[in-house]
Amino acid sequence: MSETSTLSSANTDLPIKVKRKRKRPVGFYLAGSWLFLIVFLAVFGWILPAPSWDKSFYDSLGVHPFHHSHILGTTLDGYDMFAGLVNGARLSVFVSLISVTVGGAIGTFIGVTSAYFRGKIDMIVTMAFNVMLSIPNLVLSLSLLSVLAYSDENHPATIGRRVGVLILSLTIVIIPILGRIARGATLQWSSREFVLASKSMGTKNFTIIRKHILPNVAPAILAIGFLAIGSVIIVEGSLAILGIGVPGGASWGSMLANGRGNIAYSPWEVYLPAGAIALTVISCNWFGDFVRTSLDKRESKI
């Protein structure tokens, strides 16, 4: 008897409201806060009471980190590391965000429309994407930069022009990468019955794309977009090391390029920007992964 009463009381005590809060892994918060910090520094870095990044301090050349006057030390030429990193964050975030956003938007538009309508245009688009993907990123950016932003003693290219061409070349690299993802996802979603159902109600094709295809394709694009931000930062660094990126230590890659000869005397000149790049790329990958899994939930519940 007592057993039944406990059973019934247990039944009434059953939680009606099931706890919905998903526990996110620690990595999510770490990656999120690092990315937040980088974006914050990129936007508001100029407010911080740091020395100017392009001024050389002749009285303190090659000071090691945690020195009383320069918190992250200086380079052998006397440039402040902390100011350089903050300034580099601005350029790296600016370059990668713009190129991934613009390239992603163009790629998504091309990929989604060609996959939705199929036919000859789709064949041409697929072929074009494959051709673009077959050219290594670095080679493509390298050739674009050396042609469009050619620079020697007599014809110095401005930093603005260099950055512009850099963004353009990275955008071109991003278009086929995200375009292919968008195309693949659209192929999968546009054959689903709800698209046909909406069509059978007389909805126009572009309304269907906007209301039915894009919301379903978005998670994949977002996830790969975050990965792309990471790889764009790496490409930017590689270009700088090859000597055709942004000159004068204005970006993380550029700082790395300038400091690589001094690694024996002031290793922090290399380790600090390299660490910043590595942390940002890892955070982007993690964050993209979390975005994807959390957006996938609704589909997986069916």
């Binding site: 036919g119 709800f194 159902a197 909406s198 059978s200 109600m201 909805t203 126009k204 209301k211 069916i302």
Partner: protein
């Protein structure tokens, strides 16, 4: 009553790597306003293609011949834009699987109001009111809460009701129901069919009910077309069909419905064999290899669609009950 839809000699072919696939062969059907037609046949007999071809919802690999007249207007060669004008407001379709026919990432409300705002040009407030009214009509409890839900929160029967609400939202004159109850369990099937018949009678809406279950069409249709391998093999008013069945295939279909009276452990009645290959052109009746009454004539020559009187047509050399 006036003729709403007239399909005349319609054939559908698909270009496939294996050759020309004959999905629908020379089908002629007439439907009055408010009338209900059942299209019955096993999987692959061309019922779904028939309904989609009538609407014009075929993929690019398909070719359609014959004429389709809707409300006295020949819509066979109408440009895409003008056909689209008919969709939703003239003809609408309910799909087989309500699990996949709703967009998983959008709320019920936005999917339900989509055609109202896009097709009928309603503003958001009116569309929402109309959506609530529609949900009430398809018997959904607490319609206002329903508008905010996602498809994954609903059961199959609920989703099919939503699909019906979407399909009838623009008050079509002709509703294609493509196996609307196949994905649902039996108790819900009956409710959904009742609902469809009720809505049909209220709105004087014609319906083409596509199904493989003769039991489903029995109580809910005025006439029935039985399809086999792309052909209409028997076409008659519902009462006439069940009382004077002519085709051995229809008889076999009816026999293959499992019955409660049969003793446990006995074999389920099935139609032995398979549909003929739709890419091949073979002589004779396509049902010959599976027919219990087959003769040499059946294997040699394909029977024509014969008028058996009382609006009863059949495609057989030796119909059940004999030739009149």
């Amino acid at each position: 009553m006036s003729t709403l839809l007239k399909i005349d000699d319609m054939s559908v072919r698909f270009q496939t790597p294996r050759g020309n696939l004959k999905a629908v062969n020379n089908v002629s059907i007439e439907l009055l306003a408010g009338e209900s037609l059942g299209v019955v046949g096993e999987s692959g007999s061309g019922k779904t293609v028939l309904s989609r071809a009538t609407m014009g919802l075929l993929p690019g690999t398909a070719t359609r011949t014959g004429t389709i007249t809707y409300e006295g207007q020949d819509i066979t060669n109408l440009p895409k834009d003008e056909v689209r004008e008919l969709w939703g407001t003239g003809m609408a379709m309910i799909f087989q699987d309500p699990m996949t026919a709703l967009n998983p990432v959008r709320r019920i409300g936005s999917q339900l109001t989509e055609s109202l705002t896009v097709r009928l040009g309603m503003n958001k407030k009116d569309a929402k009111e109309k959506a609530i009214e529609l949900l009430k009509r398809v018997r959904i409890p607490d319609p206002e809460a329903m508008l905010r839900k996602f498809p994954y929160q609903l059961s199959g029967g609920m989703r099919q009701r939503i699909m019906i609400a979407i399909a009838v939202s623009c008050e079509p004159k002709l509703l294609f129901a493509d196996e609307p109850t196949t994905a649902l369990d039996v108790t819900v099937q009956a409710q959904v069919l009742e609902l469809l018949t009720e809505l049909r009678k209220e709105e004087n809406m014609a319906m083409i009910l596509v199904t493989h279950d003769l039991g489903v069409v029995a109580g809910h249709t005025d006439k029935i077309a039985v399809m086999y391998a792309g052909d209409v093999v028997e076409y008659a008013p519902t009462r006439q069909l069940f009382s004077h069945m002519k085709m051995p295939y229809t008889e076999a279909l009816l026999k293959s419905i499992p019955r409660l009276e049969t003793p446990t452990g006995s074999r389920l009645p099935v139609i032995e064999g398979r549909l003929p290959d739709p890419t091949k052109d073979e002589p004779g009746c396509p049902f010959a290899n599976r027919c219990p009454y087959v003769t040499d004539k059946c294997r040699a020559e394909k029977p024509p669609l014969t008028d058996g009187g009382n609006n009863h047509f059949y495609r057989c050399w030796f119909p059940i009950g004999g030739v009149k």
